[in-house]
């Protein structure tokens, strides 16, 4: 067992370094570095599955004279769950990368990309297993830095650099808060080890507890990309290579969920009532605003990034309800809420990974990111289209795919909030459920737009018309994830008990599985509802087969005449006459104009007469309020502050020496006086 993890780590290190041996041969470097990553991930899947099925846990302790405590790794069910999704997604992403990074060959160093890529995965693996705050922060930082370098990998483009800078700033603001949270725990517990934190949780004074909660929530919330801390996410994720975006959106932001759950359920003891409400409020804002902003995006990867914000919101809805139930002393419901959240974690990793890989395929087949210039790709890229279609249906929570299963669980969890809890929550929780329904319906709209405009209809540009299907390894990477979208739904009755084990390590209560899963049915804890993903899939396919055969037998073979689309009797339908993505989302832009506050600019050029137009330009923009109201003033304030600080910077070395001298004297006074 242990061996698997060792070899996985070793292979990632090897994969990171070995690429440099073939620096001159791009293709060899590519195969070695990503091939080893594929191998390592496969082992990681075996390892984590082993732990999850046996329910045991695995411990590795490196003794020695470490100043901050021993370097200790533990993989219980909770860590193994996150190990599993990291390994699973990096398996698909690495397979995809073998074909995808070919376009960098001769242009960029594949070895360098592979180096950061492998160490990025490795850092995530360590983050979710290490048992010491100091090393956690160390690996957390490595994870942030390697991902930063992956974001600015194509640093020739100025937008990549500026996105990278924003990401670097935001992730360090987050890390500062996490560090503060850990240091406060350290002061209280007297040690950096997680076990000490757990032991000291009961005696945490309430004020300190609340402060730590806020620091951890802000810190991890920044990494997870909850609104209003999300601004880096839609900038940074699209700039990275697509297989890296898949990992960042699919699993890196989930490590923040890992950290948050660790704090909430392990380090902070009994949970005050207001935490749940705070998390729920942030969650519903992220869910709704995430999808509403996504609707207005036409850069495919930015659109997907906004959907990550939405889905983090859905996950946090589950987490928030778990907090509510924990503080209301309903451990059974709390575990159920955690199961819903964890289920959505793995589902989102699957379909969001798939969609980002699909976006990468479009990019490699057409070199276009803007969906306004795509169209008709389904003919030249049938495999990519089928995979992207499955991902779109899954993220829109359509049965019988996996997205629906976890959304169903989240619905049930929210409706359970009507029992017990506070009177306000009794009313708000079904309302939250309805808003989740709104978000689901809007997500479906957004993905009809994204899939329909890019894959269906006629090509809107030369590149789209001459798109080519991607290579075998890229197809395989997407295929694995697409199949999992079905698998994760059909296997729900087996997955829920495993997630129950994971939830148990958090909430500490054993859940009677008979009350949650009966045969193929998932059962709501209050027995108010049941649902069987397998049966629904069976019924739908049986009806489908029935309908097809029935028509065929009853009416015989269909006789079809292929003609051009109807052109209203005016020949010459052009691709430009099709609906655009902007036009598609126009009704929603009008309906939600109080939120978007859209501005538009129309420029007309004519030859002396209004009827003789020569050119027409149209520009439409929406307002991102958080950017406008919070971050713009903030960055201006920082700029002013640094201009003020500049006045003491003259550039004379004597002056700097005297600054140092004065500081030294002051410090001596300050500390000398104390001792």
């Amino acid at each position: 067992m242990e061996l698997l993890f060792f070899v996985q780590v070793l292979l990632h290190i090897l994969g990171g370094i070995a690429g440099f041996l073939f620096e001159q041969h791009g293709e060899k470097a590519n195969r070695v570095t990503h091939g080893l990553a594929v191998l390592a991930s496969a082992l990681g899947i075996l390892f984590s599955l082993g732990i999850l099925f046996t329910g045991g846990s695995w411990v590795l302790e490196l003794q020695g004279s470490f100043p901050v405590g021993a370097l200790r790794f533990v993989a219980g069910p909770f860590s193994a769950f996150f190990l599993l999704i990291i390994s699973f997604l990096s398996l698909a992403a690495s397979l995809f990368a073998i074909g995808y990074t070919r376009e960098f060959q001769g242009r960029k160093s594949i070895a360098l990309l592979g180096f950061f890529y492998n160490f990025f995965i490795l850092a995530m693996l360590f983050v979710v297993t290490v048992q010491n705050a100091f090393y956690f922060l160390l690996f957390w930082e490595i994870m942030s830095l390697t991902s930063y370098f992956l974001v600015i990998f194509e640093h020739e483009r100025p937008e990549a650099l500026s996105a990278g800078r924003l990401y670097l700033i935001m992730t360090h603001v987050g890390t500062a808060f996490i560090t503060a949270a850990f240091l406060l725990l350290y002061i209280h517990a007297g040690s950096f080890s997680f076990d000490a934190f757990r032991g000291a949780a009961v005696t945490l004074p309430p004020v300190l507890k609340n402060v730590i909660f806020l620091a951890a929530f802000i810190g991890f919330g920044t990494k997870a990309g909850v609104i209003p801390l999300h601004i880096w996410l839609p900038q940074a994720h699209p700039q990275a290579s697509s297989h890296v975006s898949a990992l960042m959106s699919g699993v890196m932001i989930k490590t923040a969920i890992y950290g948050l759950l660790l704090f909430l359920f392990n380090f902070l003891g009994a949970i005050p009532a207001w935490w749940g409400s705070a998390v729920l409020a942030v969650a519903i804002f992220s869910t709704l605003l995430g999808v509403l902003y996504a609707l207005m995006e036409h850069d495919l990867k930015r659109l997907l990034a906004f959907h990550s914000i939405e889905n983090i919101g859905i996950i946090l809805l589950g987490v928030g309800m778990a907090l509510v139930f924990s503080s209301a002393k309903k451990p059974f419901y709390a575990s159920f809420a955690l199961i819903a959240a964890l289920y959505h974690v793995i589902n989102h990793a699957t379909f969001k990974g798939l969609l980002f890989l699909g976006a990468g395929s479009i990019l490699s087949g057409t070199h276009i990111k803007d969906i306004e210039r795509l169209g008709g790709l389904i003919r030249n890229m049938p495999w990519t289209a089928a995979c992207f279609f499955i991902g779109s249906a899954a993220i829109s929570a359509l049965p019988p795919l996996n997205g629906f299963v976890s959304e169903w669980l989240t619905f049930i969890v929210l409706l359970l909030g009507c029992e017990g809890a506070s009177p306000a929550l009794r009313f708000f929780s079904p309302l939250l459920a309805a808003l989740l329904g709104l978000a689901g319906a809007l997500a479906a709209t957004c993905f009809v737009k994204a899939f329909g405009i890019s894959f269906l209809g006629k090509p809107r540009s030369e590149q789209a018309a001459h798109a080519h299907e991607v290579s075998g390894s890229m197809k395989a990477g997407m295929g694995i994830l697409a199949a999992s979208c079905f698998g994760l739904a059909l296997a729900a009755p087996w997955i829920v008990p495993i997630l129950g084990k994971v939830a148990k390590t958090l909430s500490g209560t054993d859940i009677p599985m008979g009350a949650m899963v009966r045969k193929s049915f998932l059962i709501s804890p209050s027995e108010s509802s049941q649902f069987s993903p397998v049966l629904i899939a069976l019924i739908l396919s049986a009806f489908l087969v029935g309908a097809v055969i029935f028509l065929r037998v009853l009416l015989g073979k269909k006789i079809v005449r292929i003609c051009p689309s109807w052109d209203c009797g005016m020949p010459g339908l052009e691709p430009r006459m099709q609906y655009t993505a902007t036009g598609y989302s126009k009704p929603l832009r009008r309906i939600f104009s109080f939120l978007y506050q859209p501005t538009r600019r129309v420029e007309l050029e004519d030859e002396g007469h209004a009827m003789l137009r020569t050119a027409q330009r149209f520009e439409s923009k929406i307002t991102h309020h958080v950017d406008e109201w919070v971050y713009k003033p903030l960055s201006e304030f920082v700029a002013v502050l640094s201009r003020k600080a500049k006045q003491i910077q003259t550039g004379h070395i004597q002056l700097y020496l005297s600054y140092i001298f004065i500081t030294l004297i002051l410090l001596l006074f300050f500390f000398g006086g104390r001792s």
Binding site: A393, S396, G437, A444, I536, I562, Y579, P587
Partner: protein, 316 residues
Amino acid sequence: MLAILLSVIQLLFLAILAPALSWFIKKMKAASQNRVGPSLIQVYSDLLKLFRKNMVISETASWIFHAMPFVLFVSTFAAASMLPVLGIRSLFGFTGDVILFVYLLALGRFFLALAALDTGTTFGGMGSSREMTLSSLAEPALLLAFFSLGFCAHTLSLEGIVSYFASGSPTQMLFFTSLAFGALLIVTIAESGRIPVDNPATHLELTMVHEAMILEYSGRYLALIEWSHQIKQLVFLTLLSDLFFPWGIAGSWDPLAFGLSLVLYLAKVFFLAFVIGWIEIHSAKLRLFRVPDLLAVAFVLAILSLLGQLMIGRGV
């Protein structure tokens, strides 16, 4: 065994009855305009004729275009199979709950909206965009209305809710369930594409929603789509009658109870169709950007109903 047979029969009955309801509303409208209107046979022979016709398919169409009529039909049919019609037990009601019901309809709509974009015409995009916009606003109202009813019934399964109301709900609930009825009625109008939300009788680009999406379809595909649409309309009418006028629905498979239930069911759905038709005759189609206001009314009604249930209800 008999139970299964009868629940299959009631499902088929619903599917076969569905065109008759459309005929009824058409006939009402014709009468209001001093026309004779089509005969009952006409709607069925229209469907049959379409089923037998050859098809013209756009050269731009992909597999989505071919799959859509089947998926739309199957998802609508599956949603119908969860619904109590004549007896309280339905064929597949045990497999899921109201949430599944709502999302099955969403599955059909997802394909419908995509197929509209598949042929690369402006009309398709227009209908698709409008349909998705309106339905994403209707869906939360529908869910919330279901939740508020589920609150009194203490269950989310359709069968459970219906049998709770059929066994005589407490009268103090009546006011709040009637609010939910208002919400569901508006959603029904929106989902079945009726005036004031959409005009099923027009092919005018300014007003089309549903018709714009299926403009490129012909022959048996069109027949399937039309039939699905009629079934969906009847599903919503049945839902209204099940939830708000459940009296007389057969609790057992006793022939007498079944027969009585059949008569009452016909009376109820035709009455509801009369209400829908009456609204259609007496109102003009709303401007597209006024429709969200109507749907907001449905949402507010559902919230009020929920608030009421919370004060006296039992919780899910």
